[in-house]
């Protein structure tokens, strides 16, 4: 369903991605691990269409469609979701309104009926209950004054309501203590399904204790230098990334 071929991308004229190849099947969970500066976040932004990340070569096909020509909102409509490493604070906009706008925009794109206020409330309540998110959090402005754990839980809630077919989790474990990590990890795991693939981007193995991947890839210097199963993640935890650092381009 997702096919990345020879993907090259630059930021501010500097080449960060140098030929990534990756194929993901439906329902698969792939982890991308790598040291700082290897291009992990750049990959997530290129896939979600952020301005300033310029693709210079290669292709990304998603369910047979060219993902790279789409606007970020169109990609969301097509089922791509990015859980941010640092979720953005939006002062003055209540989380509830934000979620409703978001869900209805995506439903409109998919040709589904939009929710009215009452139906949406019912719909969102079901999701918040399973994720243990309080109504109070929904009344507050998006991510404003949220703790690290609340922010990440909010990302998982957005994922739950938008029901993507490809979820990209960018360093979801950063800024979380052990308990928060477990809550978020369990939340994500609950969303695993045969219709949903996940690309879990992380520096550390610890997140993968909670979200167990089918495949693990090592990203270094903008290229996937090694692929394997979940045991590869444990190896990396033991030996670090030193082995790949010496492979400088």
């Amino acid at each position: 369903m997702l096919e990345i071929k020879n993907l090259h991308a630059t930021v501010d004229g500097k080449e960060i991605l140098r030929g990534i190849n990756l194929t993901m099947g439906s329902g698969e969970v792939h982890a991308i691990m790598g040291p700082n500066g290897s291009g992990k976040s750049t990959l997530s932004y290129v896939l979600s269409g952020r301005d300033g990340y310029e693709v210079t070569d290669g292709s990304v096909t998603y369910n047979g469609k060219d993902l790279l020509v789409m606007e970020p909102e169109e990609r969301a409509g097509e089922g791509v979701f990015l859980a941010f490493q640092y979720p953005v604070e939006i002062p003055g906009v209540s989380s509830m309104n934000f979620l409703k706008e978001s869900v209805n925009s995506v439903r409109k794109y998919r040709g589904e009926e939009v929710f009215d206020a009452m139906d949406f409330l019912k719909f969102v309540r079901e999701k918040t209950k399973t994720l243990n998110i309080s109504d109070d959090m929904l009344k507050r402005a998006v991510n404003v004054g949220f703790s690290g754990g609340e922010k990440k839980r909010n990302e998982v809630l957005q994922m739950a309501v938008l029901n993507p077919t490809l979820a990209i989790l960018d360093e979801t474990d950063s800024g979380l203590d052990v308990d928060a990590l477990r809550i978020v990890g369990d939340g994500v795991t609950a969303l695993r399904s045969p219709e949903r693939s996940m690309l879990v981007i992380t520096h550390y193995q610890r997140l993968l204790d909670h979200i167990v991947p089918d495949h693990v890839h090592v990203l270094a210097h903008g290229r996937i230098v090694k692929s394997g199963t979940k045991e590869l993640a444990l190896e990396l935890e033991q030996n670090g990334y030193a082995e790949f650092a010496s492979e400088a381009a």
Binding site: G49, E71, G77, L82, F84, I90, V93, F98
Partner: protein
Amino acid sequence: MNSITPTSQALLDRYEAVKKNFVGADVPWLAAIRDESAATFRKHGLPTPRTEDWKYTNLRALNKIAFDGDAATDVNVADLPERAGSGPRLVFVDGRYRGDLSHSGASTKGVRCSHVADLLESDKDLIEASLADTGDETPLLALNGAFQEDGYALILERTTLVDELVEVLHVNAGSAVNQPRNIIAVGAGARVRLLETHVGTDTSTQFFNGATVVTVDEGAKVEHLRHQMQPVSTVHINTIRAHVAVGASYNSFVLAEGGQMSRDEIQVALMGKAASTKLHGVYLGSGCQVLDNTTVIRHQAPGTKSEENYRGALNDQSRGVFQGNILVQKGADGTDGRMSNKTILLSGEAEINSKPQLEIYADDVQCAHGSTAGELEEAALFYLRTRGIPEGEAKTILVEGFLAEVMEEFGLGELAGAFRARISSWMEA
């Protein structure tokens, strides 16, 4: 003698030509106030960009306005905005009170919700000082003093509490110069909320130069809300002078979105111990509009507090001006004064001139000011778009959220929804 501009002279000529026909021309004390005001105006003339507090806001648009236009004979009632609540609403068309269009609302004991022309004979003592006020010889206040014919008068006896929102609607319908002089006088311990709405028919090319003199006695509270949505053909100037006594408060919120050139100037004197003022506002500029918010706060007594928070969004080639002047006089120890102005520039050609000024002559004073201007945050826009929200809608949400913060901080009550809706429709226009 100072040489004044042809436009200033045209205004004075107009004054001499029509003063005999003014409402209350036969009331000697009022005629004297008008003449004195005209003399004060003659001394200064209209401000020019060389005048310090008019550096960023040029009145040259007035050169194109004829001052001998007529007031409208009538106005289409269907064009008037609906009342925001069920309280009284006074309607003025081209500065003249229109009882037939107004609603008296339920009468509350101790409240007079009236108009100046109706009080000239009965209440001279109550209104004379307010009608004579020209500030520190403020030219536009003096001009207003010369041309004043009518205006609303909201007078509360001590400890009177008005729960309903009092409304005043100013309609510009003709091409006359419209210079109402309004009075808000609130007795000790009394409380009132007032909404003034400024609208106009699209054809009216007008010079609106209003003035309101506010006195808030000991422990009283006034909340003064304004929505300025006049046509872009209008030059709109509104000057407010508020005198706030011990423990009293004067709070103001203005939503400014109309006029080719608009200035909302508030001068507040915190005269008594622990007097306070909160001046908040939102401005929405597009096309070639110039929207000016000028505030002058004088802390004259100990423990006084002022809080200013203005935010705006500017599109196209529009320009915003924010001038905030906090003066802490000798003896006003323990003053707390805060001022903030933030602007989102939605186009590369939009501009904001922000000029905060602090003058402090007292001890133990806390004063702070901040001002920022910039584009919408790229990260926030991207965040919303990754959630499926199209770019245009995402911008609307962000601008509305940015401006809503200042409305929430002020607390607009039942008007919050309507004011927010104005922002959305402005963004979508």
